[in-house]
């Protein structure tokens, strides 16, 4: 029996540079992506703390996706190194709280690459749907 589809809400943190440019490129090229994704733009992913991510889950987010620049391309030199260190420890905390690894991911997008942006969103939202039993 088919259960009613659960509506998910996903918080997407993008850095202001490559990832935001990917998000904007998807918009400019009118490449649709899942409307369950709510973007919040910050200057750099290095600005994210485990606390902020936990706050998102605590308030009911079904997933948190972090999108930034690839290693070596950080506008602020150290941001993506910093976030790469924070992700595993946050993931450990989330695991303790019973969240699945698929609900929290870190990835990067190239500048103006709307297609890859959409693909990343697609894979992530599919993962969330699986967890929610939407598939």
């Amino acid at each position: 029996m088919k259960t009613e589809e659960k509506i998910s809400k996903i918080i997407l943190f993008t850095c202001n540079w490559n990832a935001y440019s990917g998000l904007e490129a998807a918009g400019a090229e009118k490449i649709p992506y899942s409307p369950t994704v709510y973007p919040i733009r910050i200057a750099c992913l290095g600005r994210i703390t485990p606390g902020i991510i936990l706050r998102a889950f605590e308030n009911g987010a079904n997933g948190v996706l972090l999108l930034g620049c690839s290693q070596g391309e950080c506008q602020y030199e150290t941001g993506n190194k910093q976030i790469a260190e924070i992700v595993p420890e946050t993931r450990n905390l989330l695991n303790l709280l019973g969240y699945n690894d698929n609900q929290f991911q870190l990835d990067f997008v190239d500048t103006r690459d709307g297609k890859s942006f959409r693909e990343i969103i697609q894979i992530f939202t599919n993962g969330i749907d699986e967890i929610l039993g939407n598939q």
Binding site: L23, G46, T78
Partner: protein
């Protein structure tokens, strides 16, 4: 001293010079001959960085970009350069274009030899441009003003309705000119010089027939009934015009005058409207159902038509309520040559005969021997009409033949004998009836003054047998209706005298068409005259007596070589001209079925593809139709400007010589040579480059009892509002906490919208504003995804000016992030837009207003290394008034910390904000690179090296093998620019340290990618200090601070939390 600088060309070197000078506080004009900046020549940067850089230039208040502009003249008088600039039209308004791309999508023209449309957008400023070398020859030649290349281009795309509308807008009778035109356009067609002209007439007929076949569907098509539905909206002028003659000139003028808001009455002596089209051209050439439909369309726009009315009291019209009169009565009187027996009743006049035929009168010429005298179109019409009336013998006798080759063939096929080279001597009678025409042979001579000369050959008298003569040797107007007192002067043989406005010698009475020209011209000429007269009458009625003749774009003349190129560029261009087919002879005996058949669709498409696209813009006006903000200006003209400049930098890819002008700089090829040229200019202009440190303006937010926030929602001409329900959002928003005013804007990036926002701020006493559009931040910063329109929006709102709006504005992008990505889910798009707006509200509420202290003190530059660039850099800096010192000793360590560079020597330490490293040898370079580092141990050398043209670290490095002079000077220019840039920063978003929580652990010092934080000693203890002028506000230090003492410059925790809660609520 004139402090403005002129940079000619936008090569990468030129742009670097522009930035260095602009940041140093010097006004710069950058002249670029193409429509886009920096697209020619090489650029070091990947696209997204080049884009960012170009936007930086376009937005800089000290830089005036001049695109599409060429330097006409450069002179130097008393040390001042004087430049004459010619700015060519872009045909698109830079202050309005939203870069939506609708025009590019709709444009039917692909520029030959390229893969782009005639309207395109490929750089910055990010606004479209039309590639228009001028008006294509076909369009230029058309008296009616039809955009010929335009309809051809539309037909080639199977856009028949648009093609028809385009023709119809200039020519009320497409069906007529698709059949009986003398097609000046084809004579002018470039293609005629290669093989044969494009069959423009057949194409015009194709769409006219297409539209006629679909006429019954049209009443439901709103676009087609545009003319009639706009009736009510057209403001009435209250003026009345009488038009005498319902021919092509009169009806064209009638339609134009109705469009201008005047009331029009058309009088015609005939029982049907259409003039010569309806009573002169027989139906085998021009069927009337289609013409009558076209006339009906004009009448349905509100023209009052009075048929069977002979008007002979023109002054009476003027005294009885008509404000102007147009005489357009045509030339309906056929003439005879006064030879013997020409008055015999068996001599008919062609036009009288044709009128009877056209009106369907029964005439049977069976058994008659008809002689038609004359060799023009009217003679041919008469002969071919005659042969259809029973079974006569028909001979067409003429001196010279002027009918078209095809028509002669048709006539001969139908059995008409064509006898050329005859001079008529007398009509021969046998008893009381005509028995023939006596002729002499004529020898054909040369053409003199446009007229072919003939000479009679004596002794060649002979009789051509016949019992009915139809005279078709010419026609003239009947002037019998004019006032008897000569108040309207007639010039014989020219017709009614008129001035350049087409006004006759009687005030308020105008004339157009054949009656003005004295003889029969073509329908298209009459239509052209009708337009002209209507324009003049409109001007006259509105009190504008002088006809302002605009010097429009000129005709495009393609070279033979270019034409051949275009022939090679496309496959579809290589076909031969399509000929129209004819009804078989057996099927057109004794009837008036139309002889010429219309092209099939395939043939029409193929024929349209033969166009050489001379324009290349075809002026099909499709872009004008789709452009929501109305940014297209097809009749834009060139403009000329004069600039006085204290210095000139040449920065074009192609070198040019300025005759006799000396003392200008050359930007060279790369960023360094560009900066070196900028240095020379700074030196020449003797600027005082020591910056004055400005006070940082604070956004003083008075604590009000409650927020008064205004919300503006951009519709983006439907791009947003067609998906996101901005209307409902603005209605709902006034219920959201803090919002006291909400409204939509059509285009928020327009100046008008900015003015409206400013007004509302005043009227509604707003203290904060949210603009939901495509702009996404209020920062004076350009990201990879920024656009020209976003900057224009911010600029219009004063974000970049010192006179900025005193209240904070938050921007939300609801176009790229809602409307455009959730097009299929409008409800979802609206919901997300709402959430974005509410999160912006929460951002506004938590916007930081605290005061920032700033310690930037020293502008002293230190130079380390034995390289020759160092000496030159030093003297250059000193020349600019910047304190500089050379350090002989190589430091043990160079560390970037606290926004400074710290040099550690054996026994001492030196601190500077700006360090220039100029190693003299490779060995020294290695030594210096080894000692350069960041607090976390990264090599500063690599960071400096990987950043092109960046002083983010306060360090510049010139390797030993550089051109010492260029590098030294370029370093000076960049340092001057950087010092000014940092010191003139007005809006600071920087991380802030809460001293009560700082434990001086140094984590922030280590993590900062730019070495900005430092631990400083104060009386109350040791704290981290982050210089707000230098902090880039990434927030990394805030995230890592173990005691939570740092609040980041953007998105503080509380704000993020608010936003998260809003989204998840």
């Amino acid at each position: 001293m004139v402090k403005e600088v002129l940079i000619i060309g936008s090569s990468q070197a030129g742009l670097q010079a522009a930035l260095d000078l602009a940041f140093s506080g010097i006004k710069v004009n950058v002249i670029e001959s193409s429509p886009f900046m920096g697209i020619n020549g090489e650029h070091l940067f990947p696209d997204y960085l080049l884009n960012q850089r170009l936007l930086e230039i376009l937005k800089h208040p000290n830089i005036t970009p001049w695109t599409n502009t060429s330097l006409q003249k450069l002179t130097k008088v008393n040390g001042i350069f004087q430049a004459v600039l010619q700015q060519y039209p872009r045909y698109v308004d830079l202050s309005k274009c939203t870069a939506c791309g609708d025009c590019i999508e709709i444009c039917p023209v692909i520029v030959p030899g390229s893969d782009r449309k005639a309207i395109f957008l490929e750089g910055q400023p990010g606004c479209a441009v039309i590639e228009k070398a001028g008006v294509s020859p076909c369009t230029y030649a058309c008296p009616a003003g039809i955009h010929v290349q335009g309809y051809v281009a539309l037909i080639a795309q199977e856009r028949y309705q648009e093609a028809y509308d385009l023709i119809h807008s200039a020519l009320p009778f497409p069906s007529v000119c698709g059949r009986v035109c003398n097609h000046y356009c084809e004579e002018a067609c470039s293609r005629a010089q290669l093989d044969e002209a494009v069959n423009l007439m057949a194409l015009k007929r194709y769409v006219a027939d297409w539209a006629y076949r679909r006429k019954d569907d049209q009443s439901e098509d709103p676009k087609l009934s545009l003319d009639s539905t706009s009736d009510d909206k057209r403001p009435s002028s209250g003026k009345k015009v009488a038009i005498i003659g319902a021919g092509p000139a009169g009806l064209t003028a009638a339609r134009d005058l109705i469009h201008s808001g005047h009331a029009v009455t058309v009088f015609d002596a005939n029982s049907t409207a259409g003039g010569m089209m309806r009573v002169g051209i027989p139906p085998h050439r021009l069927p009337y159902d289609q013409l009558d439909w076209e006339i009906q369309q004009i009448l349905s726009e509100g023209v009052d038509l009075k048929l069977n009315t002979w008007v002979d009291d023109i002054p009476g019209l003027l005294s009885n309520g008509y404000d102007a009169v147009l005489i357009a009565t045509g030339a309906h009187e056929a003439v005879k040559i006064p030879i013997e027996n020409a008055d015999h009743p068996q001599n008919w006049l062609s036009l009288e005969f044709l009128k009877k035929v056209c009106l369907g009168e029964k005439i049977d010429l069976s058994g008659r021997k008809v002689i038609v005298l004359g060799g023009g179109d009217v003679a041919m019409d008469a002969a071919r009409a005659a042969i259809r009336l029973g079974t006569p013998e028909v001979r067409l006798v003429c001196r010279g033949m002027r009918a078209s080759f095809n028509e002669i063939l048709d006539a001969e096929e139908e059995g008409i004998e064509i006898i050329r080279g005859k001079v008529f001597k007398k009509i021969v009678l046998d008893q009381r009836d005509i028995s023939g025409v006596e002729c002499l042979d004529a020898e054909i001579g040369e053409v003199i003054d446009g007229k072919r000369q003939f000479s009679e050959l004596p002794g060649t008298e002979h009789i051509i047998p016949g019992d009915l003569v139809i005279w078709a040797v010419g026609q003239r107007p009947d002037f019998g209706f004019l006032p008897k007192n000569d108040r309207i002067t007639v010039l014989s043989p020219e017709g009614i005298r008129a001035d350049s406005r087409m006004m006759t010698s009687m005030e308020g009475v105008f004339t157009a068409g054949d009656v003005r020209r004295g003889t029969t011209f073509f329908v298209v000429d009459a239509v052209g005259e009708g337009h002209h007269a209507a324009r003049s009458i409109d001007n006259y009625l509105k009190g504008k007596l002088l006809e302002i003749t605009e010097s429009g774009p000129s005709e495009v003349i393609l070279s033979q070589k270019e034409m051949r190129n275009r022939l090679d560029q496309r496959d579809q261009v290589r076909f031969n001209r399509a000929a129209i087919t004819h009804l078989p002879v057996k099927d057109r005996k004794n009837n008036f079925y139309e002889v010429g058949l219309t092209l099939g669709e395939e043939a029409a498409l193929q024929e349209a593809g033969r166009c050489l696209i001379c324009g290349p813009c075809s002026q099909c006006m499709a872009c004008v139709e789709v452009c929501e903000p109305g940014a297209i200006i097809h009749n834009q003209t060139s403009s000329r400007s004069f600039i006085d400049a204290g210095a000139v930098i040449f920065a074009d890819d192609i070198p040019i010589e300025f005759d006799g002008v000396e003392g200008y700089q050359v930007a060279g090829e790369d960023l360094e040579t560009g900066s070196a040229a900028a240095y020379q200019v700074m030196k020449d202009l003797k600027l005082n480059l020591i910056p004055t440190i400005q006070n940082i303006p604070q956004l003083a937010l008075l604590e009000k009892a409650e927020d008064r926030i205004g919300l503006f929602l951009c519709q983006c001409g439907g791009e947003i509002s067609d998906i996101v329900d901005t209307n409902t959002l603005s209605a709902e928003a006034v219920n959201w906490s803090g919002i006291v005013h909400a409204q939509e804007l059509q285009f928020s990036c327009s100046e008008d919208a900015a003015g409206e926002i400013m007004d509302i701020i005043q009227v509604e006493d707003l203290d904060k504003v949210i603009l939901a559009a495509c702009t996404c931040c209020s920062l004076d910063q350009i990201c990879f995804s920024c656009t020209y329109q976003r900057l224009r929006c911010k600029d219009n709102l004063g974000i970049f000016s010192s006179l900025k709006s005193s209240i904070p504005i938050e921007f939300v992008n609801i176009r790229e992030q809602c409307a455009w990505v959730h097009q299929d889910l409008p409800d979802k798009a609206t919901e997300i837009a709402k959430i974005l707006i509410i999160t912006a509200l929460s951002r506004l509420r938590s916007r930081k207003t605290g005061e920032q202290s700033h310690t930037y003190e020293s502008n002293k530059v230190l130079i380390v290394g034995s390289g020759p660039a160092g000496e030159i850099c030093k003297s250059s800096l000193i020349e600019l008034g910047i304190e500089t010192e050379m350090i002989g000793e190589i430091p043990k360590k160079i560390l970037r910390k606290g926004g400074h560079v710290i040099l550690t020597f054996e026994s001492s330490e030196l601190l500077t904000d700006l360090l220039v490293i100029t190693p003299g040898t490779k060995k020294e370079q290695k030594l210096l690179c080894d000692v350069l580092q960041m607090p976390d141990g990264r090599s500063l050398f690599q960071l400096v090296d990987s950043r092109i043209n960046s002083l983010d670290f306060g360090v510049l490095m010139f390797p030993p093998d550089v051109n010492a002079e260029i590098s030294g000077m370029s370093g000076a220019a960049r340092i001057a620019a950087w010092i000014n840039k940092i010191n003139n920063k007005t809006e600071l978003s920087a991380a802030e340290v809460d001293k009560s929580r700082c434990r001086a652990c140094g984590t922030c010092v280590e993590v900062c990618g730019f070495g900005i934080p430092d631990l400083i000693e104060e009386a109350s203890g040791r704290y981290s200090f982050i210089d707000p002028k230098l902090c880039l506000a990434c927030g990394i230090c805030a995230a890592i601070c173990p005691s939570g003492a740092i609040t980041p410059g953007h998105s503080p925790d509380l704000q993020l939390e608010e936003m998260i809660k809003t989204i998840l609520a």
